[in-house]
Subunit: 312 residues, 2 copies
Amino acid sequence: MNNPQSLAAPVSAGGISIAAVERDTGLGKDTLRVWERRYGFPQPLRDAFGERVYPTEQVEHLRLIKRLMDQGQRPGALLRQPIAELTERLAAGPSRAVADDTADWIVPLLKARDIDPLRAELAQRLARDGLERFVIETMPALNRRIGDGWMSGAIAIFEEHLYTELVQNQLRAAIHALGGRGTRPQILLTTVKDEEHILGLLMVEALLAANGAFALSLGAQTPIADIVGAARATNTDIVALSFSGAYPWRKSRDALIELRAALPARTELWAGGGGLAGRGRSVAGVRVIGALSDIAPTLAEWHAAHPRRSGH
Amino acid sequence: MNNPQSLAAPVSAGGISIAAVERDTGLGKDTLRVWERRYGFPQPLRDAFGERVYPTEQVEHLRLIKRLMDQGQRPGALLRQPIAELTERLAAGPSRAVADDTADWIVPLLKARDIDPLRAELAQRLARDGLERFVIETMPALNRRIGDGWMSGAIAIFEEHLYTELVQNQLRAAIHALGGRGTRPQILLTTVKDEEHILGLLMVEALLAANGAFALSLGAQTPIADIVGAARATNTDIVALSFSGAYPWRKSRDALIELRAALPARTELWAGGGGLAGRGRSVAGVRVIGALSDIAPTLAEWHAAHPRRSGH
DNA sequence: TCATAATATTGTCCTGGACAAAATAAGAAC
DNA sequence: GTTCTTATTTTGTCCAGGACAATATTATGA
């Protein structure tokens, strides 16, 4: 108690706790423990109380493994490979590549002390490319660049926050400017528990708005029962869910099944985001949106299937 | 694979699995099990494999308990109470009072199916009262009304989300419209770890903007080290922190002390929000902003103390 | 070549024990 | 009375190691 130094930080110094690893990688606590038991990796240190402390490099390694698993590879093999082999596989993987230097400008701008040029640059690109292209092409490139920068230590957390904040403002302003009102279809947009991912949500909202569909966003972390309640109350045509890549597929699937069962049959259920991308067969009654660029066509399909009737 | 019906649904029939309860209530698996062991509730059934199956009513009960806990009550007492007692407590709530009927209009508008009138009403009030008055007078009344409504069950969570979303959009748009750039003082605005409270942050940002000071908001949950890093990097004059009422005072004090020690002496440190209001003596070197209405005067003071020099 | 059965892999659940962190109550000092 | 310490209770999360259903992979036979 008198020695805050020794008390305060099981976190910062050597590594992070198992709960933090779960949050960061999307791998469950049980999974992490059973991997350690079976494969000998990860092999966290222990703090003074015998609790696992994962060094940053191992978390990095785990993140790499998670990425490969999302591509369809199986853990048994991956966990026995040395790390060099893994990066190699990742590079070989589907459609990596695409020399991404189109987004390189963001880093120096973030690093500069003055934020006005950054804000201006973002605004200008948005204006020049248009909302749709900005969201589908520019932003993913930027996000990836920022993510990489963060992992390699080139970008500090506050700089990532700053980026998120500025882009968010741009998107919100753009959506606001489109100023749509109660058109059909009526869309409810949200994420389930444990999903933060505000930016992804906003990207979808922007794309929908660009295509004349104005979603009602409930923000992140809406419990399933409340999603159902909201859909009922607002007479929603489509409930759209977004899952980030860190969300375990099993969980998203369960959530979708439960939600599908609880929603009225006439309400469509759409799901998308990195957590579902590439997942072979989907859940019955759920429309999986594989990529951002699929949103517009899917919306068009909906319109084709629901010809406009007079009245409201 | 051949019998999807029987396979798929440990979910629907009698109840739901522990993972589903965790997702729906936000109570961790470990917590659910330890409550069962200690207090005898919840008391799930078991399926053929010995796994817990929670009946819907118990999930409902758990959700009620969670709500009371969010209100500050402790589980030990709640878990021993019969369900009738709980609903009663919920209605009683903490220190209601203050006949606040100026904000009563929000509830029926939220309840109505159509969101356009709500959006319009908010926009109109903002335009009529001006940003400053809207933030200082209207919004706190609305927030309180919404909070009360939620606790008493009159307002569903999704309606609260909806309100937050709409107000947020209004504020952001207003700030954006003021469109200020790199003026002095340079302010860094954020909350520390574990603080969500986005709306409060945005209110402060709006007030500052209304007074010609454009804060750089880092969003919520910035680690202290990163706040310091950001302040250093951007040559910040003032770091402003917001603490919600739910944040324990002890923690905010510690955070402020730590931050004060780490920041350069020339950087001022301001702190405000419900978590600090009324707290007698403050931390040395920290300026406590008691109420939203104090922001403008405090800012004026800063300007008086820092007469404008030519150049920047 | 394709469907079906046998086998291997893998994630989640289980029990029951432990203990740090948070909240509260009790006491001391200004 | 109020603020600061110090004990005591409460409460959430972690641990180990066993088990087994769900899923993926391989072998087998028509």
